[in-house]
């Protein structure tokens, strides 16, 4: 297909062959070991997953394969070309989708595709044959004239993928293609990827932090802090937890998250997550379930269990020990039972209805989840609740008042953690906490005590002097939460706290939330990870501004279609609920156009 020395011989057995590569970055004064003696082979026609928490080195490895990062030690050969000596030959032959799409947002779908077709020298005749196939695959045909910036996250990913496929590449590199994509689009995207590999015999390397995605690949490379923890088939990696995986039932009135929290405190337990009203747990090597005083039923190990086992063996905190915390001064039990009451809330931006007659009620001490894809209206709802945005219609009460018009004392009852890191990046951890403490009117001894409490509870003591902009993602999140809890609020709002967080950080986060809720804090949280609904007492599913379902996790899960072999997951439920809502003709049709619904 391409004139070049490497192609004259028979197709090389390995599309990618990486031998012991190392890479060190210098950031300021610090040296960061991004890759440490990493090796990887990818056979022609295989699908390889790069899996690992943030900072594992997945993106650096993909960029190295694409010839975009210099190689300190070791060698990278792609399609028979040396990535260090001849990156252009590789770049002319492969397809690469970086994490941030690489689309020109003010160009239309068609123009973006044409640009890549022109750059790759795809002829008009080839386009006539190729475009209809890509359109059919991605379902973008209806939006050819729409600017890429006005597509939903899922549509952008599909367009990014289509752009890399205008010339059939020999190798496809996808860097976290499903980050920020709603479950429906995620499923569709994976169908495309699997189709390309299985039917078109494409070789693909996909990085992901979503462990269920790794299960669908031929091979997985498990990475942590630049090192390879394990490499093998997903089944082999899942097998590392063989015989140690169980499902435990919580007590009659006990939420699953409380049992999970208790189990995590037990040294015999390696990992535990609430799942379908039960707790899915992995025991440590040599510990039986009897060690936790339960008689749980054995379960099949999943990829995630193997992943956590391997991380634990690597000493990477496979046990989510962090996160247990106590409040210095738990909120008093209020007279009324309802913390938040929302009825018929509407918010419009011009013609666009961001929040469409939303009603719900949150009881004191509850964990309440607002679930939905990006653009569902979650953040807009949140901003109205916090008094940051005026509602277009309906009523809302937070701790008995409308924060938009209420005084400072009402705001004192509320803490808010924004989606983006909203603290002062140039200030140190302590300086930030100091500022927030004084902003909430604390002084003298009270302030010192409170800062001390926050540093201890959020395990920030050692980092007190670190400039907060340089903290790793998980620590930034802890600091944001600490700042929001400085004044001991009764109600805590968290907007997409786990977006972009890896499985370890997410476990730790939910651990803290569970602890806060146990001590009487009302927590209301938005997330696009459907399985996180399992941690909530009640949740609503929002899509295109409307509430499609509400209830306890069990009630929501019950609306899923029965899955062959295994219980339905929260994600199955979400997909079923959204598809059902979109199919209902008598109701106002939900915008299916793929337009991103303004601020969410």
């Amino acid at each position: 297909m391409i004139a070049g020395g490497a192609d004259k011989t028979a197709a090389p057995p390995k599309v990618v062959s990486i031998r012991g590569v190392g890479k060190t970055f210098r950031r300021g004064g610090a040296r960061i070991r991004a890759l440490d003696n990493v090796s990887l082979d990818a056979d022609a026609g295989s699908l390889v997953a790069l899996v690992g928490p943030d900072g594992a080195g997945k993106t650096t490895l993909l960029r190295m394969i694409a010839g975009l990062v210099s190689i300190d030690t070791g060698s990278v050969a792609v399609l028979g070309f040396d990535a260090a000596r001849d990156p252009q030959s590789i770049q002319s032959r492969i397809g690469y989708m970086p994490q941030r799409f690489g689309l020109y947002e003010d160009l239309s779908v068609q123009e973006n595709m044409d640009l890549y077709a022109d750059l790759n020298g795809v002829t008009a005749a080839e386009r006539r044959e190729r475009y209809p196939r890509l359109m059919e695959m991605t379902d973008l045909g209806r939006f050819l004239d729409r600017p890429a910036g006005k597509l939903s996250g899922g549509m952008k990913q599909k367009l990014g993928l289509a752009c890399t496929l205008v010339r059939p590449p020999r190798l496809l590199l996808l860097d976290e293609p499903t980050v920020g994509v709603d479950p429906l689009s995620r499923r569709e995207l994976w169908e495309i990827i699997l189709h390309l590999v299985r039917d078109d015999k494409l070789t693909a390397i996909v990085s992901t932090a979503a462990l269920d995605e790794a299960e669908r690949c031929d091979r997985a490379l498990l990475m942590h802090l630049g090192k390879v923890l394990s490499e093998g088939s997903p089944e082999a990696i899942a097998g590392r937890a063989e015989g140690r995986v169980f499902l435990a039932d919580p007590g009659p009135d006990e939420p699953a998250r409380r049992l999970q929290s208790r189990l995590l405190d037990d040294d015999a337990v390696l990992d535990a997550v609430p799942e379908g009203g039960q707790v899915h747990l992995v025991m440590r090597q040599g510990c039986g379930p009897a060690a936790v005083g339960l008689s749980p039923e054995p379960a099949l190990p999943r990829f995630e269990d193997g992943f956590m086992t391997l991380l634990h063996e690597a000493g990477a905190g496979g046990h989510a020990a962090g996160g247990a915390m106590t409040l210095a001064r738990p909120p008093e039990k209020g007279a009324d039972d309802v913390a938040i009451e929302v009825s018929d809330l509407v918010k419009t931006f011009g013609d666009f209805v961001a929040v469409d007659h939303v009603s719900f009620r949150v009881r004191r001490g509850e964990i309440f989840g607002l679930l939905g894809p990006n653009g569902a209206g979650k953040t807009t709802t949140f901003r109205m609740l916090c008094g940051l945005l005026a509602a277009s219609g309906g009523t809302l009460r937070v701790a008995g008042e409308d924060l938009r018009v209420a005084g400072a004392s009402a705001r004192q009852k509320v803490g808010y953690v924004a989606q983006k890191f909203a603290l002062y990046s140039q200030l140190s951890v302590r300086e930030n906490l100091d500022f927030y403490a004084s902003a909430y009117g604390l002084s003298g001894r009270a302030r010192r005590d409170r800062i001390e409490w926050a540093m201890t509870q959020f395990e920030l003591t050692e980092l007190a002097r670190v400039v907060s902009g340089q903290l790793p993602g998980g620590f930034k999140q802890r600091l944001s939460m600490a700042a929001a809890l400085m004044h001991g609020p009764e109600i805590l709002f968290l907007d997409e706290p786990t977006s972009g967080a890896d499985p370890l950080a997410r476990r730790e986060f939910w651990r803290r939330i569970t602890a806060l809720s146990d001590q009487g804090v009302t927590v209301i949280v938005t997330t696009h990870f459907m399985e996180e609904a399992e941690y909530c007492d009640h949740a609503v599913i929002q899509d295109a501004g409307r509430i499609l379902a509400k209830g306890t996790p069990a009630e929501i899960r019950a609306r899923a279609r029965a899955q062959p072999g295994g219980r339905p997951t929260m994600e199955d439920a979400f997909i079923a609920i959204v598809e059902e809502a979109r199919a209902r003709p008598h109701e106002k049709p939900v915008d299916k156009s793929g337009v991103r619904g303004g601020p969410s």
């Binding site: 004139a3 010839g67 252009q88 397809g95 003010d106 022109d118 750059l119 020298g121 190729r130 010339r167």
Partner: protein
């Protein structure tokens, strides 16, 4: 299969550059900030500098304090009233005038004392002109106008007296003007000298016209100078911004993994903004000749050649800055500091390079805009003076080649 033939062939390269240029042009058309900086800002600068920032002063508010009501005094006051340069208020007391000056309701006070007409006949008549001296430049210009108005009166009076003397046989007396800066109660020697000069009026008409034409002079050098600002804005700042945006948004990362070579990416950026720069150039030239009637003594060809050269220098700087910082905010800061401000302050556009300190003057030698301003002023006002033009062109060519080479070196297919 469907893949391209040889991706390194000149034809394939040209096709890719064309695709990038097409993409960039579409982005320029759709991005309001590109249009703003590329077209709207030049127009705004032309109007602002052309009409707003001229050294021409019109309708200066003055208070005329008439303490003498003789026909001669009234005629002198009428001279101020009828002058297009003044907007006079008459019939005020000196105390009112003083107050108005303090509140800066007037920029000057013309005081005709009660003994004016007596002294006029006896010789040694004076008019006091009090100027608001805070804006020294403006005060100097108003001084010129006032002197002119008084000279005009002198001339008329002399004619009148001469014809009267022809009838009566009396010698013509000298009229006089005297002025002092506001707030400075004493008259300096310089003031006296000026007053003395006024007391003996020269032949009037020709000098007056020359004097007042100074106002148009400011347009003569401001409007051509604008071209350097517009070229710098489009070439350096806009290019640095859009290139940094591609680094920041990750679009370059995706572009890198394709048959595209780095020089093609740079060309794809250079060509459209070069075109945008030419539009700005045409706007400036047209406005300078149509709106402000700036004389154009050189040839359009030389002007275009020099401007294209400077545009390439700016583009080189913009590309270099963006590749070095890869961040829109920093790129804009650097571009303003390293290109726009020097072009404004150190190029000879606003301040004459001969009148700035030697150290600063030494620095201006590395400011490309300096050579371009010299070229512009020569081409517009003096003509194709090759001994000036050729060395400047040679220096700019050298700088351009250096910057483009550095930009090429700084832009590599590397991320992270």
């Amino acid at each position: 299969m469907t893949a391209a033939d040889d991706t390194g062939s000149p034809r394939a390269r040209m096709r890719r550059v064309a695709a990038l240029v097409r993409k960039e042009s579409r982005q320029i058309r759709r991005d309001p900030s590109s249009i703003t900086i590329g077209v709207l800002l030049p127009v705004l600068l032309i109007l602002l500098f052309g009409y707003g920032l001229s050294l021409d002063v019109k309708d200066v508010p003055v208070a005329v304090v008439l303490e003498d009501t003789s026909p001669a005094a009234l005629e002198l006051a009428a001279g101020f009233r009828l002058s297009p340069y003044f907007k006079s208020v008459e019939g005020v007391s000196m105390a009112d005038a003083h107050e108005a000056m303090l509140q800066r309701k007037v920029d000057a006070v013309i005081r005709i004392r009660e003994d004016f007409s007596r002294k006029l006949t006896n010789g040694g008549a004076t008019v006091e002109v009090l100027l608001h001296g805070i804006d020294a430049n403006r005060a100097r210009i108003i001084q010129g106008y006032a002197e002119g108005a008084i000279q005009m009166f002198n001339a008329r009076y002399t004619d009148h007296e001469r014809s009267a003397a022809g009838r009566r046989g009396a010698p013509p007396p000298g009229g006089g003007g005297r002025r002092g800066g506001c707030g400075a109660a004493r008259y300096t020697d310089h003031d006296r000298a000026a007053a003395g000069r006024l007391a003996a009026p020269p032949p009037v008409d020709a000098r007056l016209r020359k004097w007042f034409n100074e106002a148009d002079d400011s347009h003569y050098f401001l409007v051509p100078g604008l071209i350097v600002l517009v070229m710098t804005l489009i070439g350096a700042i806009l290019t640095a911004l859009v290139m940094a945006r591609e680094w920041e948004q990750g679009t370059l990362e995706a572009l890198f993994v394709s048959p595209v070579r780095v020089p093609e990416i740079l060309l794809g950026k250079t060509i459209p903004y070069f075109g945008l720069g030419l539009i700005g150039l045409v706007l400036c030239i047209l406005s300078s000749s149509i709106l402000f009637h700036v004389p154009f003594r050189g040839s359009v060809l030389v002007l275009c050649g020099a401007s294209m050269l400077y545009l390439l220098v700016s583009l080189g700087l913009g590309l270099l800055i963006s590749s070095a910082v890869k961040n829109q905010f920093l790129a804009s800061q650097f571009a303003v500091l390293l290109t726009f401000l020097p072009a404004l302050m150190l190029s000879g556009f606003l301040f004459d390079l001969r009148s700035i300190p030697a150290v600063v003057r030494a620095i201006t030698h590395v400011v490309p805009a300096r050579y371009y301003v010299e070229l512009l002023q020569t081409i517009f006002l003096a003509g194709d003076v090759w001994p000036v033009i050729l060395p400047d062109i040679a220096i700019l060519t050298g700088i351009m080649l250096l910057l483009l080479a550095l930009a090429r070196k700084a832009t590599r297919k590397r991320v992270g």
